[in-house]
């Protein structure tokens, strides 16, 4: 994080954005110097026009003309150079500031927990990171100096005009109060409209996105007309919102624009009168005329700038909401030390540097052995605290042993394992990893060594090799690894071995590009079983201490599954393996089997014990077995 999202929480949007800009403020100072140079030049050039008229044309001193012309050109060159300079600096300033802001958003996003993602649409988060930040960038690198420019030019030009002729200047100044009134009206009305447009666009985005993601279902039900109707509603709404903004502009823009024109009218009418009356020279009137665009421009501009300002505010509010979202899962500040203390050093059996001081984050060196204990754990989702998902779960799995979990759909199996890698915190009780509360472990350590192969397989748009090595970032000799180089630094042979263990090597090699095959977003190009095996290989490549397979082989045929299980048995000596399954065959070799029902453990024991107990496990077992043996009696 570049900036602690907690600071300036109650301040205005400009105060809030400031810390992101701080490192680039020197650029702004530089830009300010150039800005002043530019405006000084801009304000002086029309004076030369006046001098040409008064001294050369009226006064007849033709000899001075080349000098004036040269001066005018020279000043222009200085002016445009200065302007180019400050524009570039401000652009760089805006880019760098937004760079920090988006980076923070991205980091924040990865800190948020499952609860947040369960309730927030991808499209919304997407807008936070693209269009909203763009509104802020636009404000920082363009709108701010445009506002300054408008104010300086307006005030400057008016001042010079007062110096030339106070009567005419005063007449022009009379227009200003009206500008403020109109601007305020425009501003306050545009504000909610921008919010509405943004929301409408987000709706439209989400709808289209869902349609694209769910294209198989849409087609299977031939629901294209229905989807189009839904789309039309959103599409119409989005247009309506845009029109509402146009109508608001219609209410104010002509008046603002008309005020600009009035300045010319006053100059022509009143200025002309003053010259005729002999109270003003023609040259001064010409100068006045050249200054007109300097006060006319800002007046016309301010309506648009107000719109931009509102857009900036709307975006700020949304981004601030994202950044101040509190994850429920937060790492203890002294997590690494607390683990060492609590486990009396046993948890850090593989700590590289024994004497390392606790001030350095020693997190990556902590190695989990794999002992898991649930100490009377209960859990309910924060948004539905009255429905217990887990109720008084209590068991112990020593390091290196195998746990099997069986239970009905929705019994809480997936939630139970999510607690081990601390995607949720228990509502009551404790989850102990190597005897240390999961809440006391550094999150990175915990999650990199507890690996859940989830029901929903997500593959990145990358090569198969890159996907498998995604988890291998922590593998020996590879620090940067991950996906940046499609597995550079991760041994090819290692990846193939992991794929073989997961029973994926065969089908991967049958693909046109083998391990170099790119699997699309969400890996749709592969069958369910293939995706499951890839995600298992990915988890294995991570070399976790605790491997959790959440119904990982449900779409894999039984022969392959048996093969995978044999590989797993051969491979590991010290991994704790937790298997969630519906098939008895997947869990029966476990050292401990839990049968879950409505969030409670209703039976526990080994396969033999449970079968002997003639309870629920036995009945599932006999159904799965009976289904086969029963039919087998037919021959």
């Amino acid at each position: 994080m570049y900036v602690d999202p907690g600071i300036n929480q109650n301040k205005g949007n400009v105060r809030w954005i400031l810390p992101y800009c701080t490192p680039d403020l020197p650029r702004v100072v530089g830009a300010l110097v150039l800005f002043i140079a530019n405006n000084a030049m801009a304000l002086s050039i029309p004076i030369i026009s006046g001098l040409i008229v008064d001294r050369v044309i009226v006064g007849g001193r033709t000899g001075e003309l080349p000098g004036f012309c040269a001066l005018m050109i020279a000043m222009t060159i200085i002016r445009v150079g200065a302007r180019y300079g400050y524009q570039m600096w401000m652009e760089r300033f805006g880019q760098n500031s937004v760079y920090r802001l988006v980076s923070d958003e991205y980091e924040k996003l990865h800190e948020l927990d499952f609860t947040y993602f369960n309730h927030t649409r991808t499209g919304d988060i997407m807008s936070r990171m693209t269009s909203d930040t763009d509104a802020i960038r636009h404000f920082l690198s363009w709108v701010d100096y445009q506002i300054a420019d408008c104010v300086v030019m307006f005030v400057g030009a008016l001042t010079v005009m007062f110096a030339i002729d106070w009567r005419l200047a005063l007449a022009l100044a009379c227009v200003t109060p009206f500008i403020f009134i109109l601007t305020r009206g425009l501003s306050s009305h545009a504000h909610p409209l921008f919010f509405a447009i943004r929301n409408s666009l987000a709706e439209l985005n989400s709808m289209v996105e869902e349609n694209i993601e769910g294209n198989r279902v849409v087609k299977a039900f031939a629901r294209e007309p229905y989807e189009t109707r839904k789309f039309d509603e959103r599409n119409d709404d989005y247009m309506e919102r845009n029109m509402a903004l146009a109508y608001n502009s219609r209410r104010y823009m002509p008046w603002l624009d008309g005020l600009g024109f009035c300045l010319q009218l006053i100059t022509l009418g009143f200025g002309g009168y003053l010259v005729i009356a002999g109270d003003m020279t023609l040259g001064n009137l010409v100068s006045f005329n050249s200054f007109l665009w300097m006060i006319d421009g800002p007046v016309r501009m301010c309506g648009w700038l107000i719109n931009d300002w509102q857009r900036f505010n709307a975006s700020c509010i949304k981004i601030r909401r994202l950044l101040t979202e509190t994850p429920r899962i937060v790492e203890r500040p002294d997590a690494a030390r607390s683990v060492v203390e609590q486990s009396g050093g046993s948890a850090v059996a593989r700590t590289a540097a024994e004497g390392r001081t606790t001030s350095t984050p020693a997190a990556p060196d902590l190695r989990i052995r794999g002992d898991v204990r649930f100490d009377h754990v209960s859990f309910a989702f924060p948004d539905d605290p009255d429905t217990p998902i887990l109720d008084d779960i209590d068991f112990h799995v020593p390091a290196g042993s195998k746990l099997g979990i069986l239970g009905e759909t929705g019994a809480g199996k997936s939630t139970l394992v999510s607690l081990i890698s601390r995607f949720y915190d228990p509502t009551a009780g404790r989850v102990l990893i190597d005897g240390v509360d999961a809440r006391d472990w550094p999150l990175a350590t915990l999650r990199s060594q507890v690996c859940i192969v989830a029901q929903d397989t997500f593959l990145f748009s990358d090569t198969i090799e890159g996907n498998i090595s995604f988890g291998a970032g922590g593998a020996p000799g590879d620090e940067t690894g991950g996906r940046t180089g499609s597995g550079d630094g991760v041994d090819d042979e290692f990846i193939r071995r992991m794929a073989r263990i997961a029973g994926a090597d065969g089908f991967i090699r049958a693909l046109p590009d083998g391990y170099g095959t790119i699997v699309g977003e969400r890996g749709v190009g592969l069958s369910g079983g293939q995706k499951q095996r890839l995600s298992l290989a990915r988890a294995l490549a991570d070399d976790p201490s605790i491997l959790i397979m959440d119904d990982t082989t449900s779409a894999v045929d039984m022969e392959t599954e048996a093969e995978i299980q044999r590989h797993l048995r051969e491979m590991d000596g010290d991994k704790t393996i937790v298997t969630i399954a519906h098939r008895i065959s997947s869990v029966k070799d476990s050292d401990l089997i839990l049968v879950l029902e409505r969030g409670r453990i209703v039976e526990r024991g080994t396969h033999a014990e449970l079968v002997a107990a003639h309870g629920r496990y036995w009945s599932i077992y006999s159904k799965q077995l009976g289904a086969q043996s029963g039919a087998a009696q037919g021959f």
Binding site: Y84, L285, K413, T517, K623, Q628
Partner: protein, 595 residues
Amino acid sequence: MAQRNTFREDEELEESINLHDIARVGVYLKPYLPAVARILAVVVSMSCITVSVPYLTKIMIDDAIPNKDLGRLGLLAGVLACLIVVYELALRYRTVAITRVGQLMLKDMRRDLFTHIQTLPFSYFDSRPHGKILIRVVNYVNTLSDTLSSGLISVFADVFTFLVTLVVMFAIDWRLALWSLVLFPALIAWVRVLQYFQRRAYQKLSNKQSNLNAFIHESIAGVKTTQTFAREKAQFMTFQQQQDDVRTAWMAAKHIEFLMWPGVQTISVMTIAFIYFVGITGFGGVDVTTGMLIAFVGYANNFWNPVINIGNFYNQLVTCSAYLERIFETLDVRPEIEDRPGARDLPEIRGRVDFNDVVFRYEDGGRNILNLVDFHVEPGRTIALVGPTGAGKTTIVSLLSRFYDVTEGSVEIDGHDVRDVTLASLRRQMGVMLQDTFIFSGNVRENIRYGRLDATDEEIEAAARAVHAHEFIMELPDGYDTVVEERGSTLSAGQRQLIAFARVLLADPRILILDEATSNIDTRTEEALQAGLAHLLKGRTSFVIAHRLSTIENADEILYIDHGRIVEHGSHAELLRAKGSYWRLYESQYAAIRA
């Protein structure tokens, strides 16, 4: 299969304007031509007013002031006041009218894209990141908004203003007018050279932004995976790299953009200085009054704006051309599967299914996925497909609902080749339950209703009861009205399958296809489910793909598929007696549980 289209790769972009694409935009403009004509008329009159203001000043300086004619001055002021009122009324009209035409066009375009995408095959969605498709439908179209409506119209106004200004200047004094055009070639050269570079810079930027957006989108979609592997740092590094690329491209583009104005402004001031010089010294036989000189300077001040604006518009058009090309490219993707000309509606299905020597491969010259698959099913029978993963089971059922077309042979339902009937009538009567269940955001009831849009609440509940989803639904906080989030992430995989199951049943399909539909459902629920399904399956031809043999042994016929061929077929008992592949599979499962 998946093409190389990841977030790291740039998409190709156009170098110049594709006139063909621009012409196609005309199609969208056509319905609004009368409105556009009205707007143009208004805009032209606004230009005339803008041009006449310096001329009023000229009259004042040359006529009213030297003659000390206050009446004439008052008249001039009165004329200007009237012009202002007309101008602002015109502006009032223009503000809304332009937005409306532009928005209507965009709306039409978005709708066309969306409806078109509905017709595209799975392979289209499978072969590219979804973020990139999304951007085409929404973002690219929005980018066109300014160029197509206000841009087009203001450039027209600019051209008009430019011409009128020229005419007025020549009318005042043709020699001075010629002299003030001396630097015009330099201006054109400057604008053209810069705009060439600007265009390239913006195209590069657009590529990088597109990549970044795709990456962000994927990061959000895959955030749980990233967290599971604690790979936040590596992802963040990639993100920073992508951001860096965008920033570099951005600054390069801005650098060129910001160079434009200094050149133009310098040339403009030099021209003004030159006009003063020529006008005052009478150089080259020029003889003008002070008023004319001032008016000329006034015109020269604004003379260049149209030129820059036209240049900018040209650039916008090139950028748009790039976007348009992608949009039209999407519109031009031919759906692989389309209704044949003269395709008829499939009459109500009785349920006979024939696969006649079907051969299938994804692309010409590729590997055969299915090789001479030939089987025939009587109405109402249940067929089970078993075999190793990747053997071609899913492909067989996909051919039935015509998600792909056979390469050789034919697939017939009740004697109608599936290629001869309309897709809608075919798929409406088929119930497909896929491995990937997709839950829409909305409540549970709406998700089930997706199967049949006019179903009553009672029918929905009945369907849910039949698949034993009713129990868990009632336990949700708001029962059937419980809002499920995007992709049903608050439900377990098994629960999602049950909802999808109810959805299929509600559709009351004549042919039912269950593709691994029960893999995430526990044994007890599955058993109950099957009991409920038994009578629902009655009278429907159904295809079941499953790995769990308990699910399939009651099928009327079992096809054992391997390497795209039917290796064995027959009833459960027959196949066990044959002691072939099916028997070995059965034995291994039995052994796995028993051992």
